[in-house]
Symmetry: C2
Subunit: 357 residues, 2 copies
């Protein structure tokens, strides 16, 4: 199958682009959508035609599966524009593969690379003006799939919608954040869906995160639900710890999302000769390291923020502030600069991660 | 607040009822919906007017919170008709309270008793012909709430829709079922959302249930995710075990839904003088009891089926068949008869559980 020819798509262009009404300098992440979206329906055991059409609301039955039983998965990716106005994707096949892993665990159908990756590229060609140049700027890409079959029988849907929407994202420096280490609540079970990007994983985090925010912390570092000692993830980010000059992150598991940013940072760090260890890290390791003055940095890694620096953590009602670190000594800053450089083609992509559309 | 007067509602009646086109004798559970539905929107921190209007599709933004981050909760209840054509609800305030517990954990707004219970009664008055008489017949009631605010920022929605839809349900004897005890997959984490009726809890069960079905079992009995030894729930049912003449069910916890059927059966069983124990029960208890010939019955309990008898279970690739039991010796049959009798007013409701609309 190939979507090289336009015949495989139905493309309906918007009559009037709304791009001139967008204040790209001040756009708030995830609130504005581009002119077009991609829609594809699954029915009778097969995906239908890929439709690209103006972004807008759609009709759903109130008994649609997604409203009741939560068959809903998504991905988060970005498109970047280089100085020559070429538009680039970053490791899009990683997202496509992870989408299909999520789909399998949520009893949803697999989607082919053509509809996902080539479909996305065609959509991006149409909305390429929505990709802004400049460091940290990007067009955020949100592929998602939902169960659409009507009926309130608790079981998998037989009909699904795959959709891609696009939202301009600006670089933002939100400052370093304070986090709370989860002692009671958790986001994932052994044998559960923690490693997938299913909607339910996010809804479950909002209440504990709200409690953390009320206590003065912006994010929660999630721990394993059995012992609440293993440090696993932070909000929508994988999490890294630097103890002395060793960079540590938890191995991925059933409970942890296999982040594209995480795995890219691991490769960059190794290529820079850093001492990298993928191993389980527990709260006591952290408490000991901070006591000895060996805990240098903590940061989260994910597509939305690339890297988010963490300035301190609360555990058992005690707050632990990390020492100040100069930008030129920070692994977080160095890794973020390198990754963003590769993504926007400012730095040579020796890893072959970028893909021109 | 009170909705005694029709002014508090907006009621738009269907122009033509579709009730005559429904073959109530052969209706498949959860596939047909009544003429009307209740809809109410939450915005700017408050619930709006309760609208009752013809059942039908609605428009949603593709970036609505529910499609991405899964803020979606529901309830399942039934309305019954007695021999005098009066329509009855069963413990509706239990469902309303549980709905609000789910809402709190999912960072969704609380809804008042007036909109939920009185709103439902008004809806049922309009669609009362959809409640069929006869043992086991009922009108299934599905209240649900979803996050509707557009935007792909991972955080709670600021706008919500509360909705009630109604679906005629017939008694069905599906036979006894074979179940598989979960050894790898799980539905709930400690500190998670297992005790709520949020959509994500259901989507996560479909794949393991499909695997169980491919192996010849209709349902999964879920175990705790840390040790996979504690027997907790079965699909959309709480689960009861009878060892000799003792009826055992797990205590409710963060991981287990506090079922209305479960708690009603406990009260009925006690009122009948049965030996009832609410305690954690592990797989080994079951294996030992079956070896000694002491395991008499296993059954699930939930609104949809009332009671579903289980004829045997698979554990570690071995299938264990329960002994045959005559209906007149079965606790499951006795409890089901009593509960259904109370619900349909065939048996006196000494518990004060039923509520006329
Ligand atoms: C739970 C969770 N962990 C980690 C990540 C980071 O993954 P990625 O680097 O692929 O964006 C995400 C997604 O952004 C996430 O939702
Ligand atoms: C997970 C789960 N357990 C148990 C039950 C039984 O609860 P109830 O008796 O209130 O219907 C349900 C719902 O029907 C459920 O979804």
């Amino acid at each position: 199958m190939s979507l090289q020819t336009i015949n495989d798509f139905s493309i309906q262009k918007t009559e009037k682009s709304k791009i001139d009404s967008i204040d790209f300098e001040n756009v708030k992440f995830g609130t504005v959508f581009s002119d077009h979206m991609l829609v594809c329906h699954y029915k009778d055991g097969a995906w239908g035609q890929v439709e690209i059409k103006p972004y807008g609301p759609m009709q759903f039955e109130p008994s649609s599966n997604v409203f009741h039983y939560g068959q809903a998965i998504f991905e988060g990716m970005k498109a970047y524009k280089d100085d020559n106005d070429d538009v680039w994707l970053f490791r899009p096949r990683e997202n496509w593969e992870r989408f299909n892993k999520s789909a399998e665990r949520l009893a949803m159908p697999q989607i082919d690379e053509t509809r996902f990756v080539d479909g996305l590229k065609t959509l991006l060609q149409l909305d390429r003006d929505w990709v802004q140049k400049g460091k940290g700027n990007a067009l955020y890409i949100r592929p998602f799939m939902i169960g659409t079959h009507p009926g309130v029988v608790a079981g998998p849907s037989s009909e699904f919608m795959f959709c891609i929407i696009l939202s301009p994202a600006r670089t933002y420096y939100s400052g370093k954040v304070k986090v709370q280490i989860a002692e009671h609540y958790s986001r994932a079970a052994n044998g559960g869906v923690g490693y997938t990007k299913c909607s339910g994983n996010y809804a479950g985090q909002f209440y504990p995160t709200k409690l953390a925010q009320e206590a003065g912390y912006q994010q929660v570092i999630w721990t394993d639900d059995a012992t609440h000692t293993k440090l696993e993830e932070a909000g929508t980010m994988n999490v890294f710890f630097r103890i002395n000059d060793t960079l540590i992150t938890a191995p991925t598991s059933e409970r942890i999302l296999d982040g594209v940013t995480r795995k890219s940072l691991l490769d960059i760090a190794k290529s820079k000769g850093l001492d990298v260890q993928v191993k389980s890290i527990v709260v006591n390791d952290l408490l000991e390291a901070i006591k000895k003055g060996e805990l240098k940095e903590i940061f989260g890694a994910g597509t939305a923020v690339t890297i988010g620096q963490i300035e301190g953590f609360a555990y058992q009602d005690e707050y632990h502030q990390l020492p100040e670190i100069a930008d030129e000594d920070s692994y977080a800053v160095m890794l973020k600069e390198t990754l963003q450089g590769i993504q926007t083609k400012a730095i040579e992509d020796t890893f072959n991660w970028t893909e021109k559309i």
